[in-house]
Amino acid sequence: MTLPDPNQHRYIPNADQDVKEMLAVIGVDSVDRLFDSIPNEVKLQRPLEIPGPWSEIESRRWFRDLAAKNKSAVDHLSFLGGGAYAHYQPACVDQLLLRAEFLTSYTPYQPEVSQGTLQSIFEYQTHQCLLTGLDVANASLYDGSTALCEAVLLAERVVKNRTKIVIAKSVHPQYNETVRTYVQNLGYEIVEVGWTNDGRVDIEELRRACTDDVFAVAVQSPNFLGVLEDYDSIATVANGVGAVKIAVITEATSLGILTPPGAHGFDICVGEGQAWGVPPQFGGPYVGFMVVRDALKRHMPGRLVGETVDVDGRRAYVLTLATREQHIRRGKATSNICTNEALIALAANIYLSLMGKEGLREVAWQSMQKAAYLRDRLRAISSITIAFGGPIYNEFVVRTPFPAHEILRDLEHDKILGGIPLGNFYPDHKNDFLVAVTELHSREQLDRYVSVLSAAISRELR
């Protein structure tokens, strides 16, 4: 007898004989017949143009060369922000994530065997409530953008029979786009509200947009231009039409120093928790958070962990308010999300526990002070303006007389990732770029940025 060659189809476990036998059982003579329902004209009538087959060694080499083309924030001085931020990550965050109990566990249905996971989620939720000034947090969502989508859908469940969503144009443009994707077949209208010269939501325009068919008003603070919004004025306008007020946060460390949206009467706070102990990484995984007023908790999506007592009166944690969920409530569920970003939420929980009240304030204070230092030094350069005058946290928009991508490409020669061209998101802002500063930047690095940027502008002026 001949044994099959184990190397022949290393990554494809079915030997030819297996395939033949399976086809015989279902009465089809070839694998191609399984795709008969796809019209011939859309089928690729030739083999895929891919090289290989390669050995593992060759494959690794190819991927290594590809990865080497990346410019990473590790070997560059980076001022990139715009929704993902490099903050100090205590070494033990990653180390604790490696614990197999956390790394491998799935949704904890059974409290009798999942107290550790449940407790960590409960702690995470508690942190979210404390930081946002709201009452009930869920066990996390995929990321900031989808958390905003879920908040919008939640708002519609609360304020029924209305069709309009008002979103500030200064909410992260990719979040805006994700909301459009989510609601595109639900018959809702999205109205974008722009900003005034100081970079804050145009309250007059907001007032005009807030008609009585609006069910949700969403703003971001600090917004995508880095500017802090006036929550109170926005809340007043939204209250006038009884819309649910949603605050979006993409720079989570800002909550270490700013008054939380809950304290300004906002109903829902959603955002991206990456800044809490997770390094910026292309494609994630990140973690979305959602916190709501108590009155909205039954309309919330996602898992919720609650504290209770066991038969002997000892503290215990369980999944709670599960009656919202699809496995119980079927088509009427207010939550069709069973998955959460438990591991990244755990990273956030460990980070927040370690930093504590003082540490979080320190991170926020340093980020804010250093950003103000850089902004003021840049403003002193004659051909640079700071595009928006409103108050900032750790990010601001720089304007020069030249296209932003040219300036930024020049900075890359000096191993500086100098910012994000705003024109990528707002076409009429080609000369603007967004600069983010965190506690990781030293004064020497900020001074170097100033001198390299002024040199780049001088070259353009010549």
Partner: protein, 129 residues
């Protein structure tokens, strides 16, 4: 016992009509089947309901169920006490555990509903299933 002065829907809501006002709640049989009620979601005053419309939902320790309007009409009052004491639905379904009052727009709809005797036969069959 099932009160004689009310009408009953197959989905276990009752309506007790006095003048043009119909008081709506769920039956004693329904509350027993649901178990301990922990939350009742009710419509806003002024809401217009058609017979069979979803008027709210009731959450017990076992499940969440939809409530349906047994007759058409405008909601004129909701039982605010249920937000603090949802258990009134269990302890006094036909009295303090009422849910909404509507101004009945089509009184003849009530005739299509069951009377107490018919409802008791109906739940006997339901229980036997």
């Amino acid at each position: 016992m099932t009160p004689e002065d009310s009408r009953y829907a197959k989905s276990h809501e009752y309506v007790h009509i006095e003048g043009d006002i119909g008081t709506i709640g769920i039956t004693d049989y329904a509350q027993k089947e649901l178990g301990d009620v922990v939350f009742v979601e009710l419509p806003k005053v002024g809401a217009q309901l058609e017979q069979g419309d979803e008027l709210g939902s009731i959450e017990s320790v076992k499940a969440v169920s939809e409530l349906f309007a047994p007759v058409s009409g405008e909601v004129v009052e909701v039982n605010e006490a249920l937000s603090e004491k949802p258990e009134l639905v269990n302890t006094d379904p036909y009295g303090d555990g009422w849910m909404v009052k509507v101004r009945v727009s089509t009184p003849e709809e009530a005739d299509e509903l069951m009377d107490a005797e018919e409802y008791e036969e109906y739940i006997e069959k339901e229980a036997g299933k």
